[in-house]
Structure formats: C-alpha cells, structure tokens
C-alpha cells in the first residue's frame, strides 16, 4: 500500500485506504467521559494511544500516512518516525464524516447507526462544559469583575453623597462648603448627627482639629438650617452609614486588586499600576485578548467613539483612551501627551504579552525604559508647538502631529 489516511472520529481512530475502505481501526472505549478526554488531547495536537497502536500495526505495509491535523502529523513523524502528509480535509475524512453512523456500527462501536449521534452529543456536551469551566476559573475574569465593581461603587457613592449633602443641607447647609471630602462629611453626619453636637472635643476625636474645627463649631452655632427630629435624623444617618460602608468596600477592593494583579499580570501592573492595568484587561475582555492587541489599539482602548468617528469622518484621531488615567499622561503638558501615550501603550502591550504567555518578570526594566523615554520627550518638546496656520474651508483631515 502506498498511502493510508488516519481519520480520527468519535468512534475511534480509523485507517482508510484510497478506495474508502476501512482497513483497520482502534475503537474508543464506549465511555463518553473517556472519549471527551481523548478528543480534547487530539485537538491539542497529541497522538493518542489508539492512533499510536494503529500506526505501529500498519507501518510495515504502508509508506505514508495522511492526517487532517498538522500538529498530530508532526507528532507522529517525531515519535514514530513515519512519513506523513497533511490534507485538510482528507478525502477519507470526508467519507467518514458522511457515513459516520454506518461506519460506527460496522466497527462495533454502537449497535444501530443512529446511536452514534447521541454519543456524539454527550461527548460534545462534556467537552463544552469542561471548557466553559476552565475559562471561568481564569483569574483575569475575576480582575474584570472586580474593576467593574469598583467603577460601579464609584457611581453609587456619588449618588449617595449627593443625596446625603442635599438632605443634611436642610439642617446644616453651611457644612457642605466647609467639608469637601465625602468621606469626612459622611463620618460627621453618622457620628455626630445634629449640629448641636458639634464641639471641638468631638471633632478632634474624629480627626478634625485646628482652624477648620473652630470654624465648623462657630458656623454650627449660627446656622440658618432648620431642625430635624430624631426619626428623620436617624433615617439620614442610615444613608450616610451606607455611604461609609460602600467607601470601605471600595478601599478593600482596591487593596485586593493590588494582590490580584500581582498574580495575574505583574508586568502590566508595573507599567500601568494595578487599577489602570485592570481596566485595560476589562476593556479587552481578558488578559490574552489584550496581549493580542497591537500597541496602537491599546493606546485608544476606551476611546472607541472618538476613534470610529475619526475613521468615518476624518476628524483627528484620539491620542489616548483609558490610559489617559496614567499620571504620566494626564500630568504631562498637552502637546506631549500623544507621544507619551504611544510609548506607554507600547510598553503596556509588551508587558501584557509577557504576562499572558511567558510569565517572566521584566516590569522594572519596562518601567525604567518608559521613564527614560518620557524624560527624553520632556527635554525635546519643552515648549508647545506653534499652532499651524489654518485656512478657510479646511474642515477635513487637519493632520498635524499629535
């Protein structure tokens, strides 16, 4: 025999000749869990025992084996030292897929031809369940859930704080101006309640002293606000308490994010910081997807609206997406930001690739490179560029470096 096709199927491994006759076979055990495991291995490119035995039996009679998968063929060539060829799809494979029921019955895998399909469904379901589970247990998905929780907590806290200030303002309107931090405001409302309880001693206990405390007590004494009865005050205090709880939860999540990112994506964390790195992963939909993006995509992640507007209508493209949150960008002078974004995105892209695929740590080097390049940019472009001369009617494609 010149050539034989090795066809993997749900029923087992088949050796098929040019005339579409099944010459030999290695039937799988009729246990869906075991079959699923074997199929998963074949898909991953390995040569299962059945295939190995079959080829060993036939190698004396056959010059070359035809496979439908490059990886399996390469493995067969390496471990068994046989000649191989890849054909996607092979004629024999087509034959087997067209007559699967009859073949499975003929080789004794099932009794009736139709039965093979219920086995197939069972095996597919097991495989799919395993894969869904494996994907769900990846830690980068937890990063995504957690960063989204942090963002949603921010929204909730803003709403609660607005309501709390408005409500307490009925009683003590002057305090809103004096206390900027929502956290401090909520603490004062929760701990002290009515403004008659504001005195230097109590304030000091809550960490407010000096000029600010004196001013607060003074204003509390002469406030224009109305009175609140005990029940109303208690209701408001449960609201401010809820704000404090949310705030505590947020702090906890941010802390947790540090350790989680250290595990999931240490290089990216070194370049961008934990929260920004997490946001990039969330926008991409996972660490591996992020690692497959080019740096130019990473640069504008989160600015999709501006990007597509630019592609469609020719307005200027966005310089930065979510990476604007990085202090190196938003603290930089306006005309340097585009250049810095480009460098930061490039380093973040490299970091994500290492985290997704090799796992070594070169975060410090990346960070040093980044800072060096940014100081170069700072040197070279110290002054803002001159505004380009604008002519009448040049609406489209203004270009210019950015």
């Amino acid at each position: 025999m010149e050539e034989l096709s090795i066809v993997d199927s749900i029923a087992g491994i088949l050796a098929v000749d040019k005339g579409n006759r099944v010459i030999d076979k290695a039937v799988f055990p009729k246990d869906p869990v075991k079959i699923a495991e074997k199929i998963a291995r074949i898909e991953a490119g390995s040569l299962v025992e059945e295939a190995e035995q079959l080829i060993q039996r036939l190698r004396k009679h056959c010059k070359r084996f035809i496979f439908e998968s490059e990886a399996v063929a390469a493995n067969a060539r390496k471990t068994l030292k046989v000649k191989v060829k890849v054909s996607k799809p092979s004629e024999a494979g087509e034959y087997v897929r067209s007559n699967l029921g009859d073949i499975a019955a003929a080789i004794g895998f099932v009794e009736k031809p139709g039965d093979v399909f219920s086995v197939m469904r069972e095996v597919s379901t097991i495989l799919t369940k395993l894969r869904v589970k494996a994907a769900a247990s990846k830690r980068d998905q937890i990063v995504i859930q957690m960063i989204n929780s942090i963002d949603e907590l921010d929204k909730i806290m803003n709403l609660l704080a607005g309501r709390m200030r408005e409500w307490y303002g009925l009683h003590f309107p002057e305090m809103s101006r004096l206390i900027d931090s929502h956290d401090t405001y909520a603490k004062l409302v929760t701990e002290l309640g009515l403004r008659e309880n504001f005195n230097l001693e109590a304030l000091e206990r809550l960490g407010i002293a000096g000029e600010k405390a004196r001013r607060l007590v003074e204003v509390a004494g002469s406030s224009l606000g109305g009175m609140l009865n005990e029940g109303d005050m208690a209701a408001l205090q449960s609201l401010s308490h809820l704000y404090m709880e949310a705030s505590r939860l947020r702090c906890h999540f941010v802390d947790r994010m540090e350790t989680l990112m250290e595990e999931v994506s240490p290089n990216l964390k070194a370049v961008t910081g934990a929260t920004l790195g997490a946001r990039l992963i969330a926008l991409a939909g996972g660490l591996e997807r992020l690692s497959r993006f080019p740096a130019s995509t990473v640069q504008v992640l989160g600015a999709e609206k501006a990007l597509f507007r630019s592609l469609k209508t020719g307005t200027r493209p966005p310089k930065h997406g979510i990476i604007f949150q990085h202090h190196l960008i938003h603290k930089a002078p306006r005309w340097q930001r585009g250049k810095i974004s480009r460098v930061l995105a490039a380093k973040a892209a490299i970091a994500a690739r290492i985290d997704a695929f090799t796992g070594s740590y070169i975060g410090e080097k990346l960070k040093a490179d980044l800072e060096k390049r940014i100081s170069e940019i700072g040197e070279k472009y110290k002054t803002p560029p001159k505004r380009p001369q604008r002519f009448k009617g040049s609406g489209r494609g203004k270009g210019g470096k950015s």
Binding site: D8, S9, I10, I39, I42, E43, E68, S69, K88, P89, E91, G93, E94, R97, S98, L100, F117, S118, M120, R121, V123, S124, T125, L127, T128, K129, R131, V132, A135, A136, F308, L311, K312
Partner: protein, 238 residues
C-alpha cells in the same frame, strides 16, 4: 378559545404565520421544548399544538423570511452546522424546524454565551449539539461534527466569507446550502456597506458557491445582508 390564527408558511415547511388579534402577522415555529420560552418570546396554543413566536428583530433568519426569502433551505430531519450560535435565539427556531430527526451543531467561541446556550437551550433540545470552539479552526471540531446539509453563519468577523468557505470544504455536502448573515459594521466600520457586501460575495463566488441570493435585512437590522447560496464541491484534482 384562541384569539390567534395560525397558517403554514407558503413555501417553508415547519414555519408558520400567526395572525394576532390586532391583525398583525408574525412568524412562529412549533415548540420542540414544550412550555419553554428561550429569549422571552411568546408561546401560544392553536389546535392542540404549541407555537413560539419568532421575533425578526432578534433573529436575522426571521428578518430574512419577513423580507421575502421564501426558498429557505430548511426542512425536517436536516443536519445543520451553525457558526456563531451565541445564546441560541435563532438556533432554537432551527431546532424547532428540523425536529428530532434533525441535528444542529452549534459552534460558539465565547464561553459566556455558551453557558446560556447550554443551560437554557441545549439542555431541553436533544437535537442541539453545543461546541465551544473557534470557527476559524474547523479542524478542531472535525471529530464532533458530521457531514451537513446547511451551514448557517453569523459570526461578525472580518473574513467571515472565508471562514464559512473553509468550514464548507470540511463539513458541507456537495449541493448543500449556506446562509451567511453579513454585518457590514463589524467587518470594517469605515467602508461603505455595499463595498463590504461585494467583497464578501466575491469570496463566496471564488470558493465554489452558486445561485447567490441576497436579501437586505432593513429595517430589522441596519446595514445587514443575508446571502443564501448552494455549494459545489470542487474536485480534488483542481
């Protein structure tokens, strides 16, 4: 006493027109999983049969039928490969149409929506076979799919025509059918939809598809096109 009237679709076996009390007409299929609604669609009884309404705003196949596609290659007992099954909205109606003798292999890449497809749809429909895999690599699922009569493709990927043709070479029988939903904006947001449609269709023609029929899905979906064609397997020598 039902206030609805149900009549068979003029051309497509297993698809029905429901006339609602207010006079509007909607599509429906006979529910294979009794009492179960898949995506919140209405279930109604008529002469001892249970029907599920088929929403053209949720399913591009229903939209195409509303837009006048009458020679849909769908029949009882058919074997279908569905690329991009998502959470199973359209797949569930195909499952109704092909019945228990038919089989539909649902390939979906996202584990998130696959979870829904498994839990809400495949669990109650023995003719649905869920496959979590990448449609760009058909050789990965060659062992769990048989030769099919129809490939339905709704994958919102650049190069979707090529992916469909690659799958056809492995799984579609000679003379089998394809249905391809093309979403212009997910291929290239910057080009005119008509240009993208032309390019994808040219790919299909080069890869051996004949009798192309095109149906625009407006107003149900913007800048979407449904293409129906028949496959001629090229001989190996070419």
């Amino acid at each position: 006493m039902s206030r609805h009237r149900v009549v068979s679709h003029e051309r497509i076996e297993g698809v029905f027109w429901v006339t609602q009390p207010d006079g509007t007409k909607k599509l429906a299929t006979i529910n294979l999983a009794l009492g179960r609604s898949v995506y919140g669609e209405k279930i109604l009884q008529f002469k001892g049969r249970e029907y599920r309404l088929w929403d053209p705003y949720r399913s591009k196949l229903a939209a195409a039928i509303h837009r006048g596609l009458d020679s849909v290659p769908l029949w009882r007992g058919e074997k279908v490969l569905y690329l991009g099954a998502a959470s199973g909205t359209t797949a569930s109606h195909i499952s109704d149409i092909i019945g228990l003798e038919g089989r539909i292999y649902c390939v979906e890449f996202s584990q998130r929506v696959m979870r829904e497809l498994m839990g809400h749809v495949a669990a109650y429909r023995p003719n649905i076979i869920p496959i979590l895999a990448d449609a760009r690599k058909p050789e990965d699922y060659r062992m769990t799919v048989e030769r099919v009569d129809l490939i339905y493709c709704d994958i919102a990927q650049p190069e979707q025509a090529k992916i469909l043709a690659d799958n056809s070479d492995i799984f579609l029988k000679d003379g089998g059918w394809i249905m391809l939903a093309i979403k212009a904006s997910s291929i290239d947001a910057t080009k005119a939809p008509s240009e993208i449609f032309r390019r994808e269709i040219a790919t299909l023609e080069n890869r051996g598809f004949l009798g192309l029929r095109q149906i625009s899905l407006e107003p149900y979906d913007k800048a979407h096109l449904m293409v129906v064609a028949q496959y001629r397997r090229r001989s190996r020598e070419e």
